[in-house]
Every structure is written in C-alpha cells, then in structure tokens.
C-alpha cells in the first residue's frame, strides 16, 4: 500500500491493465512523450513502448473512431480526450457508433473501449475545460458512464471499465486529481460498475453525490453530524447504469433525500435519481426529495465560478431544509 493522488491512481490502473492484457492500448493527444497534460499517462510509453501508448494528431473524432475500429478488431483501447469540452468533437463517433455497434449488429460486433476525460470546474481553466457532461452520456443508450471520487475507486473502476465488454465513458474529476489522496493497493483489483458506495452510514437523510462534488458532500456530512444530524453519504460512482437499489434502500431507511452535483439541473442525474425514488419508495418519503445542482448556465470563467460551484455550506443549508421539513 502507498498513498496516491486520484491522478496517480488512474495511472496505476492503466499500468495494471496494460501489464495484465497486451490487447490494452492507450492513446490520445500528448499522452505518449509528454505523458498527458495532467500527467495521467506519465511513464507508460517508456514502460510499454510506442505501440502500446502513443500520441495522435489533433483528431478527437479520429481518436474515438479509430478506437471503435480497434475494439471491433479485438483490442481494448483506452483513449484520452484532453478536456471535457473537446469530447464534443467526437460526439458523433461516440453516440452514433460506439454506443450502437452492438445493437446495430445484433450483438455480433461490439466496442469494448474506454474514453477517459477530465471533467468539472474549479480548476481556474479557460472555456471548454470545466464542463460536467455526464448527463449527456447518461442519456445516450449503449454507453456506461463512470465517475470516481477517490484514488482507490479510480483505480478499481478504471480496471473494470477496461475489462467491460461495452464502451465506458470514464469521467475523471479534475478538481480532485491532486486534492484527494488515499492508500491504494499495489495489487490489481476491480470495483464493479453499477454499484454505488455507502461511504458513511446514517439514519436521518440520504445524501447522494459523485465525483469532485463528493469533497463538499463529505464536509457537509461532518458539519451535519456536529449538529446532531445523521446523514447517510452515498457516492454514486456509476452514472449509468446507476445503482437504484442502494439509493432506494437508503431512502426507505432515512425517508429524506438530497442529491448534489455540479452539472446543470435540467434533465440531470439528480432529476433521474429522484424520479426513480418517487417510483420505488414514494411511500417511505417524509419530505420532498431535493436536488442541489449547478444551474442551467454555461460554466463561468474563473472569476464567476463562485456563482456556479456548490460549497459545503450550501449543501448543509439545503440538507437542513430537507431535514426540517414537516408536512
């Protein structure tokens, strides 16, 4: 065991699967010689050679499209799109081909591949570097969407994503890359996709979040505990197919639900979770479920980001409302 940042854990997961399976190839812009602009692929080209880890020209659509071809032909490509906003140049390939090839060919072909990209705000970045687009991908039939919030999960979920028979969008919270550190096993291990994690058990409120936003959710849970409120903190970890069972069972226990995420509100993950809880646990609810999310606006540049990002205080304030609700 050693202490790794979330970023280092991503590298560790890539290395583990590249060692275990020679069909795993890693490529994208600046991932080879430079080791990635965030350094997520640092050292991989040196260790595994240029045929396993390599640079591409500036061709996002080409990166994803070529990965589809490689996957169909039996490889396990793991591609990096440098920043979330640039994923959109590859959206056609992701939505029209990666997500559909299995269904289109009635299961005879498939595209087992991973598209890694940093996402989310709070890193004082220029435009198109701070978006949270998990809902776009979650809304696309045929894709799996995974968002780790800790180094341990980043490694285990990435390994599962690479082994998964279907295309996985692996969203890495840029704000947490170096901010979150944890002991990570040197051994290879897989954390199943589709399973949420009850990070802290509780009895009064179900608090669900994921990705970088988990940092504020953890602080908020601690602050609520100091006030005598017991919140059950759930890290969703997989956006699609999400773990409805864990969330619903928790709400059956607490009767109250607050979902917090950075991405915009409308047609977002919180809306989907709440609709699911209304379907399956309406009778258990003691208060209207609440969503605290980014507003439906373009992520502001650094000096306006405070109007967009959600603080731990805002989570606490919203949680208090849900906790104090009486019909």
């Amino acid at each position: 065991m050693r202490v790794l940042t979330l970023l280092e854990a991503v590298t560790d997961g890539l290395r583990a699967e590249m060692m275990a399976d020679t069909s795993v190839v890693v490529f994208g812009q600046d991932v080879g010689v430079e080791g990635g602009v965030f350094r997520a692929t640092a050292g991989l080209q040196k260790e595994f050679g240029e045929s396993r880890c390599f640079d591409t020209p500036l061709v996002e659509s080409g990166i994803v499209g070529a990965a589809i071809g490689m996957a169909v032909a039996g490889l396990r490509p793991v591609v990096e799109i440098q920043f979330s906003g640039f994923v959109l140049s590859a959206f056609n390939q992701i939505v029209n081909h990666a997500a559909r090839i299995r269904n289109r060919t009635r299961g005879s072909l498939s595209a087992p591949m991973v598209i890694r990209t940093p996402y989310g705000g709070g890193i004082r970045a220029p435009e198109h570097h701070s978006e949270s687009m998990e809902a776009l991908f979650g809304h696309t039939p045929g894709l799996k969407v995974v968002v780790p919030s800790t180094p341990h999960d980043a490694k285990g979920l990435l390994i599962s994503a690479i082994r998964d028979p279907d295309p996985v969008i692996f969203l890495e919270p840029a704000r947490a890359y170096r901010a979150v550190r944890q002991q990570v096993s040197e051994a290879s291990y897989a954390i199943p996709i589709g399973k949420a994690k009850i990070e802290e058990p509780g009895t009064d409120l179900t608090l669900v979040s994921y990705g970088a936003q988990m940092m504020e959710a953890r602080q908020a849970r601690a602050a609520l505990a100091a006030e005598g409120h017991s919140a059950e903190l759930i890290d969703l970890r997989t956006i699609y197919p999400f773990d409805a069972k864990t969330v619903v069972e928790s709400v059956r226990k607490t009767g109250r639900l607050l979902v917090v995420h950075e991405g915009p509100q409308s047609f977002g993950v919180a809306s989907e979770l709440i609709a699911t809880v209304l379907d399956k646990a309406f009778d258990a609810l003691e208060a209207p479920p609440s969503r605290l999310t980014g507003p439906d606006v373009i992520v502001p540049l650094p000096r306006g980001e405070k109007h967009y990002l959600i603080s731990a205080q805002q989570v606490v304030a919203e949680a208090r409302k849900v906790l104090s609700y009486e019909p």
Binding site: P57, F86, P126, H129, P295, L301
Partner: protein
Amino acid sequence: MSMFECFDPRQGKVLRLLDETGRLHAPPHGFSLLSDEQALTSYRAMILARAADEWALSLNRQGRMPTYALNEGQEANSVGALMALRPDDWFVPAFRELGGMLMRGLTLEQYYLYWHGNEEGSRLAPETFHMMPVAIPVGSQMVHAVGIAWAERYKGNERVVTTFMGEGATSEGDFHEACNLAGVWKAAVVFYVQNNHWAISLPWEKQSASPTAAEKAFAYGFEGVRIDGNDIFAVYAAVKAAAERARRGEGPTLIEGLTYRLGAHTTSDDPTRYRSEEDVKRWRLRDPVTRLERFLLAREILTSEDMRAIREESVTWARKSFEAAEHTPDPTLEDTFRYLYHEMPPILQEQMARRKG
C-alpha cells in the same frame, strides 16, 4: 496566372522578404511592401504583444493570472495579416493572435480580462470590430469564417475574412470541412496557418504525413503558399495578395506562416518535457522582433533609444492594463444567467432566485 504560382510549396518554395540580418529584398512582381509608417505601427503592436505576454507570464508565476496562452515568437503573423486587411474585413482568430486582436481595436485590458477569467473580455461589437472572439476548441472557428464570407457576399459587400489556426488544427475534421466549403463556394477567405512547429508536445512530422500544410489547399481547388511567418514583410505581402484575390471573387487562399512558439503552449505547459533547448535557441535567432528592429535601425526609422522608449511604454501599458483588468469587478450572479438567451426563461429566473438565497 496567380502571384503565388512561383511559390509552390510542393517545390519547397517559401516567400521571404526580410532576412535575418534585417535586409529587405525586392518583392516579386505584384507583391506589396509595408510602408515605413506601417512597419513602425507593426513594430509597436508586436512590442506591446510581447510585453503583454511577459507580464502575463510573470503574473501567472505570482498566482495572479490563470492559464494564459503565450504568443512569443509568433507576433509577426497576426500583426502582419491585420496590417494587410481593410478595417471592415473580418478577422476570425484562434487563441494565439494577441497582436492582431490589438490591431483590430481590442484593448489589452480587455484581452487580459478574458484570460483573467472574466467573460467581459470577449464583449465585442461586431459593427466596430469585425472580429470573432477567441476560439479555444482547436480548428472550430474556420468554418465560421466561411459562413461570414458567404453572408458578406450575399449582402453585396466586398469584405474578406481572414481566419487563423495553428498547424495542429489542420488535422481536425473542421479544417477539411472549412476548406472544402470555401473551395466549392469560392469564398472570400484567407486561411492563415501559424505553423509554430509544436501542437503542445506533437511536432509537425507526427501531426501530418503531408510535407507542408500549405499544399493541402490544392486538393480543395485553391492555392496554398508557404511564407516566413517571422518576416512581417512576407506576411503582409502574402495576406494582401490573397485578400485582394478573394475580394476580386477569385476564391480562398491558404497561407502557411513558418514560425515558432518560443514559449510554452500555455502557462500550464512545460515544454522541456518534449523539445530540446537547441531547437528553441535556433529559432530565437530568427525572432521576428529582432529582425524588424534591425530593419528599422538600418533604415533610420527608429534609433535604439526610440526602441527602448517603445519597450518601456509597452511594459508600463501592460502593467496598467492588467491592473485595470484585475480591478474590474467580478461578474455578478446575474451576469452568469443573463446572457444565455435573449430573454431569460422562467426556469432560469427561478434557479437564479434560488442561488441568491
């Protein structure tokens, strides 16, 4: 017969007028030279851009400036191009054209404001600027240039559109679509590729198997030319010739300016990871500013003292501009919501009210 014919990039030709010693060579027939006054105006813009960059870099190291894209070494490209355009011609930049944007009338304060993380820096009145804002997604702006050209022709205007991109952008699908459209429509567009040799860590040899970016134009039915992008005279002459052709309805041209990014890709990048110091040193000898200074001195347009004064003025102006940008109030919560739509939908009003608490 085109003026560019004797500069076929497929035969290794490169248009260069001002050599590294500052000596100006006679231009081939039909090409224009910058006047002394224009050379001086260009020099001032290049020096201001360089001073602005140096100050931004130093502020970034002090934690006062977020990620900033550096222009150092490439100043002659956008400055020379803008010198060659009419005031109502359009300029569609990427994100490494500070000199050109300043010449179009953007204030340095506004440019700083943008990179400092305030959207107010991109407030542009189309009727005064005829310029698009900075475009971050690589290559995405080129197709807009073709559309603008189409609209201007539709309106009966003889306006030309010059769009800038890096050599890496020529790999993007949008480059193909923009060139193809422009060729088919004979659009009045000048595609200016700043070939600074590095797309972050990727050198040209790994970017494309085509020996040059310029020759890609021929496949789309128009001409491409390679020029020395660190030679302000060559930039001016080539863009002027291409713009006038476009204005006459003879269609687009692709100009590949050979230049070099002397600094990092952005302040977040460390180029020592992927390129050698020798490479950078070699290109420092071809610095567009030094070259122009040699010319201005030899022509007795400026003395060394004049140059020192211009540099000092520029440094002062950069500091003042940044201070003004830094002291501009942050965008308000309302600013974050108000520009999404012409009229704010009720759902956004509700979300804004909730955020206000």
